[in-house]
């Protein structure tokens, strides 16, 4: 199943995890220390974020470190920017229509 990336970031705990690991790569235990929740619950969130390719894992010795996939986050911003452009174009067209109508009225 393809995960919905926006569903992934719609959860407050997952957003908090993203903010945490944006600063530095962390182990699941270190991440869990920041939340009043079970280690299992944090693991579940990390699994979803991994499936969405928002985070990547790296083995260092015995520990697994999670870090943020910056490019994937940029992809979200690029996508939202497209949406913004549609509105921008649409409204620029409306400016022209309004100015044409105003001229006709005079």
């Amino acid at each position: 199943m393809r995960r919905d990336i926006f569903q992934a970031i719609a959860d407050p705990t997952r957003r908090a995890i993203i903010t945490l690991i944006a600063l530095q790569a962390m182990t699941p235990n270190a991440i869990a220390d920041n939340f009043n929740t079970t280690r299992q619950s944090v693991s579940k969130h990390l699994r979803i974020l991994t499936e969405c390719e928002l985070v990547k894992q790296e083995q260092q010795g015995r520990e697994i470190y999670y870090s943020l996939e910056i490019n994937k986050m940029k992809e979200i911003d690029r996508w939202l920017n497209q949406f913004r452009k549609i509105w921008e174009t649409r409204f620029n067209q409306l400016d022209q229509v309004l100015s044409t109508i105003k001229k006709q009225k005079k």
């Binding site: 926006f6 719609a10 497209q82 949406f83 452009k85 509105w87 100015s99």
Partner: protein, 165 residues
């Protein structure tokens, strides 16, 4: 034309809500008409080279607009807007859903809340769009604007940036 007209666009990903604010250099009744009369709407609703084609529109509470975004190749993407509340020259609300050519809606859709106000002969329009899912917004872009429209703009922007270096 005034260049200092407000335009802002924000998305709250958590509540799947889009906020669009824009000012227009025209009086309130004209801007209201531009959003509520089909012959004006069709002139600007679709970003060029797409065309907006309204088949039927009945602007009253319970009424609806059935329209298509038509691609340069003639491909039609239909939508239905159902008006749920109207306060003339101040606010209207509608439910928007994609549809097939026979007017069967594809649910879920999105909730739209449009506010209009005038100050110093400038009209401000504030739009709030609540989506069932952000995936639907993605679909909105894919359905209505595939065919390279936004890509073209992005390429153009990159090209201009390169040329101006």
């Amino acid at each position: 034309m005034k260049n200092n007209l407000l335009f802002d666009f924000t998305v709250d990903k958590a509540s799947k809500t889009v906020f669009v604010n824009r000012e227009f250099d025209a009086d309130l009744s004209l801007v209201w008409d531009a959003f509520t009369k089909q012959e004006i709407l069709d002139q600007w609703w679709a970003p060029k080279p797409w065309m907006s084609k309204t088949k039927t529109m009945d602007f009253k509470v319970g009424g609806k607009r059935f329209y298509a975004m038509v691609s340069p190749e003639g491909q039609e993407h239909w939508s239905i807007e159902k008006y749920t509340s109207i306060s003339p020259k101040s606010n209207f609300k509608m439910l928007n859903a994609f549809a097939d050519k026979d007017e069967n809606p594809e649910l879920p859709g999105s909730d739209w809340d449009l506010n209009f106000s005038e100050q110093n002969r400038t009209t401000k329009v504030s739009i709030i769009i609540k989506n069932e899912s952000l995936a639907r917004m993605e679909q909105m872009i894919e359905m209505g604007f595939q065919g390279g429209f936004t890509m073209t703009l992005n390429y153009l922007e990159d090209l201009l940036a390169t040329l101006s270096k």
